[in-house]
């Protein structure tokens, strides 16, 4: 069977052997003894034991790259070893190290910007860092010089049904320094704002400029927008990688200076654009030339996926991948912690997110490996790849690395299962996501659930905020298991004792049957294309602030129930109370969190809009005035 693991053609990442060996040598005794106590069958007690270790304070919340994450990886690798899983012979271990950006620092002495007079008027006018300009955290490093071109909002929206928005019509951005307004036109309809906001993220706009050959990208917050003229904050905690272009935000004052003498007045230009005009000044070239240098130091760190393989049998050469992320958000800083007042900075143990999914993968590995050992080796079965990812909470970093450097060929990987937050089975409700990724799923799910008996909620959408989606966009059908959000989500209180281990045992048993179904080579798992509305990376960050705290645990209601209302915020001023259910915002129906989020993207700052809440069964119309989030 070894031949199927010959992967000589694959590009290898750069794990250092010494590093991996050192890791193995220092595996703590309690990891060894903990794993040794696990049974080869799926059992609630095993699941509890795994979660109790992975979600213990000892693992410290498993922040990617942390010692706690390493400890969890050691536990997982030990369990894989005990289950008899393999790793490719040209690899050193189950570990698949990857590097990631743990933060970013500006090298101020190498970060400069100057206005370079053109032609005879060759005077150089320096710009002041942190007053006139400031690099964006995703800026590339280097120096660029070129003529300035103003591209309005710098938006490109794919046209559909006669719609579409393209700031680059008749603009030659090649070798230019592109100047764009931040965000989207201020005065278009809420509906239109929502559509455009999908393509208006800072980084997305910078990439659009790069795609058109620009040398650098400058962003200014227009005089009509919230935080007018202010520089964008440089967050050293940003873990983003470099975009393929130099990028900086500039002050309104500097923008005025750059545009002076061109006949373009930024405020007038923005006002015209805000009314819906596309790029009225595209053909007007500011008579300015800009030189910019940026130097950012990204702090590289290493973490690791843990990947174990059950090779195919009986001449089959295909695989099914079974994955879950094991990382979490450490003590929560900069990673979307929802810690309540007084809980900040504590260890976020992430029992449900995602020690639960990790424990299910370990149990599946043990039980399916055991079944393989007992099966006839001549019987054709697809291989199984068990993968525990890190870097998920930073933006699917570990699974993305695997997709670039797969341990078995991706074109031989016929399906990918994902378990992310499966520890809170309540009222028998199990959510099956990405069911639309293959026509085979509904048939298999229907059959296996008749005896399994879950109250299933099936959802077609394969574009999920979890690791499996990267496989789907690489042509692999996926299936994701989920037991829904809850009150402890992304809080330090997401602890082992809050999980339903009997429920997890049932989820794992159900999944095992589905995995066994698709392990049969004659079961064709056709890929189905599902339309995606817009690239998530293109989304503009929300800037309307309401001071509402949605209740993530709410289910069985139509609308968004609020667990809290921030003191002094617009919601409190509007008379909204904790427990209210928002059902309408600015004339738009709100049935779920996604609707609410979309409605907020469409909201204008400082403009009063009607909002309908349900309170004690009655609908009440209130008026809320969203304010601007800080830049």
């Amino acid at each position: 069977m070894r031949s199927t693991l010959r992967l000589a053609l694959l590009v290898i990442s750069v794990p250092t052997i010494a590093y991996a060996q050192a890791d193995r040598e220092k595996i703590p005794a309690e990891v060894m003894s903990g794993v040794a106590g696990l049974s080869p069958t799926i059992a609630a007690d095993d699941l509890r034991a795994v979660v109790s270790f992975i979600a213990s304070d000892q693992c410290g919340g498993r922040l990617t790259g942390s010692d706690g994450a390493l400890l969890a990886a050691q536990y997982i690798a030990t369990a894989f070893s005990r289950a008899g899983l393999k790793y490719p012979e040209d690899k050193d271990h189950y570990y698949q190290p990857f590097s990631f950006t743990a933060g970013v620092e500006m090298v101020t002495e190498k970060t400069r910007m100057e206005i370079v007079g053109s032609g005879a008027d060759a005077a150089v006018s320096p710009c002041k860092l942190d007053a006139d300009f400031r690099p964006l955290t995703f800026s590339d490093n280097g120096t660029a010089e070129g003529d300035l071109v103003f591209v309005g909002y710098g938006l490109v929206e794919p046209s559909s049904g006669g719609r579409g928005y393209d700031s680059y019509v008749n603009v030659d951005a090649k070798d230019k320094i592109v100047l764009a307004l931040r965000d989207i036109p201020e005065n278009v309809t809420p509906q239109r704002r929502q559509e455009l906001a999908l393509y208006a993220g800072d980084r997305y706009k910078a990439k659009l400029a790069a795609d058109r050959g620009a040398k650098a990208f400058l962003l200014v917050t227009g005089p009509n927008s919230p935080n007018a003229g202010k520089l964008i904050k440089f967050r050293t905690s940003d873990r983003t990688s470099a975009a393929p272009i130099l990028a900086a935000s500039i002050s309104g004052e500097l923008a005025d200076r750059l545009l002076a003498g061109t006949g373009v007045d930024l405020e007038k230009a923005q006002t015209a654009l805000d009314g819906g005009e596309i790029n009225p000044h595209a053909t007007v070239q500011p008579k300015a030339r800009v030189r910019i240098s940026t130097e950012l130091k990204r702090l590289p760190k290493i973490c690791r996926n843990v990947v174990g393989i059950l090779p195919p049998t009986g001449g089959c050469d295909e695989y099914v991948l079974v994955g879950a992320h094991y990382d979490h958000i450490g003590t929560g800083e900069g990673l979307g912690s929802l810690a309540k007042k007084g809980e900040e900075g504590q260890i976020h143990n992430g029992a449900d997110d995602n020690a639960s999914g990790t424990s299910v993968v370990l149990e599946l590995a043990a039980s399916l490996a055991d079944a393989r050992r007992k099966a006839d080796p001549a019987e054709a079965r697809r291989g199984l790849v068990f993968a525990c990812w890190s870097g998920e909470e930073l933006g699917l970093v570990g699974s993305s690395h695997y997709i670039e450097h797969p341990r078995v060929p991706l074109d031989k990987t016929v399906a990918a299962f994902n378990f992310d937050m499966v520890g809170r089975l309540r009222e028998n409700k199990l959510i099956m996501q990405a069911v639309g990724s293959s026509p085979v799923w509904r048939r298999l799910i229907e059959r296996r659930n008749v005896p399994a008996g879950f109250n299933l909620v099936v959802q077609d959408d394969p574009y999920l905020p979890t690791d499996a989606t990267g496989f789907y966009t690489h042509g692999i059908p996926i299936l994701a298991f989920f037991t829904d959000l809850h009150e402890e989500y992304n809080r330090p209180a997401d602890d082992p004792e809050t999980l339903n281990y009997e429920g997890m045992e049932r989820v794992a048993g159900f999944a095992q049957q589905l995995i066994e179904d698709v392990s049969k080579p004659d079961v064709e798992i056709a890929y189905a294309r599902v339309e995606r509305s817009a690239p998530p990376e293109g989304r503009m960050s929300r800037r309307a602030y309401t001071g509402t705290v949605p209740d993530f645990a709410a289910s069985g209601i139509t609308g968004v129930r609020l667990s809290d209302v921030r003191p002094g915020g617009p919601a409190e001023k509007a008379g909204i109370k904790a427990g209210d259910i928002i059902v309408e915002f600015a004339g738009r129906k709100v049935t779920n969190l996604q609707d609410y989020s979309d409605a907020l993207i469409g909201a204008k700052i400082d403009e009063a809009v009607p909002l309908v809440v349900e309170r004690d069964g009655k609908k009440i119309t209130l008026t809320i005035t969203p304010t601007a989030r800080p830049n």
Binding site: R442, E446, R447, R448, V450, N455, L456, V458
Partner: protein, 399 residues
């Protein structure tokens, strides 16, 4: 919602129900347990997921299988008949895969299944092409489509081999159900409208507009002999079943306008008609609980496109009690032989199209609620959760 057939009259409110389904189709659908739906039904779950839609289902006499209709046959847009095994989850096709089918039912003791099918219609493939084209253009189906005159009743083995054709008359023969002893079948037929050429001008006008007006209840022996008409009442008579003791037939009668329907029972010879419902709306799809004490049915009493389940006592003496509380379509309910489970068809799914739902049934709670319900004709009960009955006396024509 363009359901066809049986306990499921062609719904005149297609557009409305489709619109309601659109609202429901976004994301997870949660049933309204907190509003009282868990009073009689618990642990509700969606049972079928495959195919464009599924619905109308009946337990086998041992309760281990479920026969149902589903649009999941590749290349055929119409319902086919399938049997599901509760132990394994295995689903096997019972009908031929050709033509349209409807209304399956298990025979006691033999494992055989009767159903109506048009697979012998030479024009079937053309009709399938037209149906696909219609879906492409998203046109509304015309009412007359449902009552294909080539429907006849067949009997098949569990492996799908057809063992007998029971009816041959031109005109819709369908909606069959075996008697509890398996010896007789009660069904619905439109054969009396044929040949259409012999209809009077007035009847012909009715036929063109509303062919189901000619549907009447028939009874026959299990081998297809002794086919006898039981009703002679203007309006669509359909959806018949035997009561659990085999002594009476429960069915649904539409008035001449085709807008109002109510549930009735009668003797096996068509005499002794008894009215169970009087909501002055569409009350249909009746099916008796195996205890024989009460009957479950569907009504749009609470809104033209909001079909909910209700129960009413066997004699129709008390006001019906509401069972489901979820907006949209809940219909075609049937019970397991032990009376402890209920299956029905609902569009509370992620696609907004119908699939089959399964729940536990609380017989004792249902009995208690019915015995506490006011008698028919008395004032509306103060508690709205008890449902509401019609207020008028039974004054059906022909009674």
């Amino acid at each position: 919602m363009d359901w066809m057939t049986r306990r499921e009259v062609f719904l005149r409110g297609c557009a409305l129900v489709v619109a309601a389904a659109g609202v429901l189709s976004a994301g997870a659908v949660v049933r309204a347990a907190e509003r009282g739906e868990d009073r009689f039904i618990q642990n509700t779950r969606q049972l079928t997921f495959e195919g464009r839609r599924s619905g109308e289902c009946y337990f086998s006499p041992d309760g281990n299988k479920l026969v149902f209709m589903s649009e999941r046959q590749p290349g055929n847009p119409f319902f086919q008949i399938y049997a599901l095994d509760f132990q394994t989850g295995d689903v096997s096709r019972i009908s031929t895969g050709q033509g349209k089918t409807t209304c399956p039912f298990f025979q006691m003791g033999t494992g055989l299944i009767e159903f109506a099918s048009t697979h012998l219609d030479a024009d079937f493939e053309q009709k399938a092409r037209e149906e696909y084209a219609r879906r492409q253009e998203e046109r509304q189906r015309r009412g007359a489509w449902d009552y294909d005159e080539y429907y006849d009743i067949f009997v098949a083995q569990p492996d799908g081999r057809i063992v007998k054709r029971l009816t041959t008359a031109l005109g819709y023969d369908a909606e069959g159900a075996y008697s509890p002893d398996g010896k007789q079948i009660v069904f619905c037929s439109m054969r009396d409208a044929y040949p259409v050429g012999k209809l009077s001008d007035e009847d012909r006008a009715f036929f063109d507009k509303q062919p189901e007006y000619f549907a009447e209840i028939y009874i026959m022996d299990a081998d297809g002999s002794n086919q006898t008409r039981l009703t002679d009442w203007p309006g669509y008579d359909g959806g018949p079943f035997f009561t659990p003791d085999g002594q009476r037939i429960v069915w649904r009668h539409f008035d001449e306008t085709g807008l109002l329907a109510d549930v009735y029972t009668m003797e096996l010879d068509g005499s002794g008609r008894r009215r169970l419902t009087d909501f002055k709306c569409m009350s249909w799809a009746p099916f008796f609980h195996p205890s024989g004490e009460y009957c479950i049915f569907v009504s749009n009493k609470l809104g033209f496109s909001n079909f909910e389940l209700f129960i009413v006592d066997a004699m129709g003496e008390r006001q019906p009690v509401r069972v489901t509380y979820t907006e949209g379509f809940d219909g075609l309910p049937t019970f397991s032989p032990d009376g402890k489970r209920i299956v029905w068809t609902s569009n509370h799914t992620d696609t907004g199209r119908s699939q089959i739902f399964l729940a536990n049934w609380d017989h004792e709670a249902a009995r208690a609620a019915l015995s506490a319900s006011p008698t028919r004709g008395s004032a509306e009960p103060a508690s709205s959760s008890a449902g509401a009955g019609g207020a008028s006396d039974d004054a059906a024509p022909g009674n």
